[in-house]
Symmetry: C2
Subunit: 451 residues, 2 copies
Amino acid sequence: MPSLDSVLETVADRVTPAPEERERLADAAATLTDRAEAALADHEVDGDVLQVGSTARGTWLAGDRDIDLFVRFPTDYDRAELERLGLAIGHEVLPEGHEEYAEHPYVTGEFEGFAVDLVPCYDVASATDIRSAVDRTPFHTQYVEANLTDDLAGDVRVCKGFLKGIGVYGSDLRTEGFSGYLAELLVLEYGGFEPLLRAAADWHPPVTLDPENHGKTTFDDPLTVIDPTDPERNVAAVLSTANLARLQHYARDLLADPRLDLFFPNDQPTLDGDAIRTHLDRRATTPAAIVFETPDIVEDQLYPQLRKSLAGIEAGLEAHDFTVFRSATFADAERSVLLFELATTTQPAVERHEGPPVAVREHAEGFFETYADDDAVYGPFIEDDRYVAERPREVTDARAYLDSDAIFEVALGAQIETALDDGYDLLWDEDVATLADRFGAELAAYFEPAP
Amino acid sequence: MPSLDSVLETVADRVTPAPEERERLADAAATLTDRAEAALADHEVDGDVLQVGSTARGTWLAGDRDIDLFVRFPTDYDRAELERLGLAIGHEVLPEGHEEYAEHPYVTGEFEGFAVDLVPCYDVASATDIRSAVDRTPFHTQYVEANLTDDLAGDVRVCKGFLKGIGVYGSDLRTEGFSGYLAELLVLEYGGFEPLLRAAADWHPPVTLDPENHGKTTFDDPLTVIDPTDPERNVAAVLSTANLARLQHYARDLLADPRLDLFFPNDQPTLDGDAIRTHLDRRATTPAAIVFETPDIVEDQLYPQLRKSLAGIEAGLEAHDFTVFRSATFADAERSVLLFELATTTQPAVERHEGPPVAVREHAEGFFETYADDDAVYGPFIEDDRYVAERPREVTDARAYLDSDAIFEVALGAQIETALDDGYDLLWDEDVATLADRFGAELAAYFEPAP
């Protein structure tokens, strides 16, 4: 078994950008900064230009090619001016660039092989005075630059490589994982990647870290890392409970059995239709997949809406007493899937309806009178202290339920609801295996699950 | 609609024994008492003879033909002597009688058309000094005789007729209803049957009554009536929650719609096989009946054991995730039935097994290691903060489960377990309808349930 040290050394070698890579990036960033400063001067804006993000902090992974330049405007520009001038400057710096939109619009484009974002923001006095989320980024860069030694920057790269390898890197709402800034703060807090690993292996969430010891708020999150630049903010707010548990699991795994493939996993496995059918036979469950056109929204909207819709329909199934054994949702640019693996698909034609205790006279009499003369109802009879009636069950077949408008009665994501309303396919039982062509990797993750 | 008064008057007429019936009973009781006193003298026992029970208290229903005579022995006789002499005297009084056994043996037989019990007991100073339960009975008789007017005795008869009519009369463990003594105390407490009805209609169990205001103990029963002759005893201890609720239901029913058939119900309905099959089709459930030879034990043992066995096997089914929609047990002298009406009869080949939270390191590592290398297991994977494994399910078919020795792993009544061990038939689905020949009335009560 290789030692942890030797594994981490190999990882560090692989993830550290080569000197020539650093130089090329520094040159490109300098050229772009010059252009942006010139453009600011042309527009007579008393602003400045800052390189931010991991390439500014020296914590980027070899092969990453992102340059993030923030153009800071004085706060006396109103928002419309900032947006107009920000885009104008962006286009001057990146003549081939195009506009994208996050909290406000910015220009993105390629330059000498690098992916460049040119983002306008306000030059506020502190991170607590920000007008939009992007205004905070320069403070993060300043904080990390001021505190991170070159050695620790190396550990941050190893840490990011690990988070990437185990699938929890990224604070987007699809991943719900660790942001780069969060990785930097954790490595800073514990003084390196290995001490972070050892600490994480023993965490008892909820865990709260406050590097600057200035937090005032408590957060209802499994991991709280108070932003050193903003006492009101949890840097780990997006991190899911499961992804925190995953970090703990793999931290222990790496300590117990140091190996490279936790950082550089093999190609993602996929399943074909036959393999899926084999699993279904072995499990003797009944899968049902609602398949529909993926709405044209960003992933940060799509995945939360998919999860909400999955939970809503699952709750609908269970409200009708169908047992959902497991469920999952996945999507690509064209098709989205809500998958329910059912343990029971049919129910009797009657359902128990427990009435009030007989002793609660008014309610009890009301209940009894409601059902006593209804020929479709068995009872009311008495069980223990209550009336019970057995009445016709509204929904007796899970397949018919999923194929009906009843699914629109549960809480669905807004754009998912619209997409479903435009029509969906219901794949039932073995037909779910036909999803293998498009979603073989997602189905492999489902039927051959890892931590 | 007839008035409550006129209904109660008609009932009173029907349940009050005619003068000649009373006279015949009094004559018979006197003759038997004389015989018993003579036998006591022959055996040189300084005891006495007491007529007890409803025929002693004047609260028996027309047509009842029970005479209960208690032969009281001084307490210096030891138990063996009391039993020996008690039986000897019993046989002298009832030469054709035979022995039965409750808490101790006694002689029972017929005399001039009456069913006579001749029970030896101790002449203790008070009901709190009793050596066995029968010693208490004379105190009950004395208390009721001392407190019940002729008018109230009439109300007791009406009350008993009502309890009988609605199926809750009897403190045996099959019925779990109201004893005659309890009916007497309730009528005494409320000063008549109608005030009792009005009170019961509004009861909020748990209800506690203490006619002599001397209770010291609290009982965990839905109705507590402290025995006027023994502050430590709840006269209603045997009454089930459901039967108390039934009294409340039918009290309201009688007040709202006074009618004779609550006292004198029509013949019990029965269902034939076709009617049962029609119900099964309509309900779309799957009934399963375990049918076996009724063990040769008294009803006070049989029914509690049947209920315990029913609950045990039902818990076993539900532990394996089969949903029992409703269940029932019934028996005659030859055959006993445990009936389970199932909503689900099969389960997937896998079952979810939730592990500990990943954060609980030692347990979590143990769980993970247990399942990680088991090819039969899916996972462990992480859901929220926990490991989850999907492992092969032991039992996937309810029919096979009920047909297997697994049912002996649940809590069964002792004699039921023995009887099942000797063999049982499992009737499945429509075959349950074949029980109609023997248990048509019980199945009618099940499939056409009344409060």
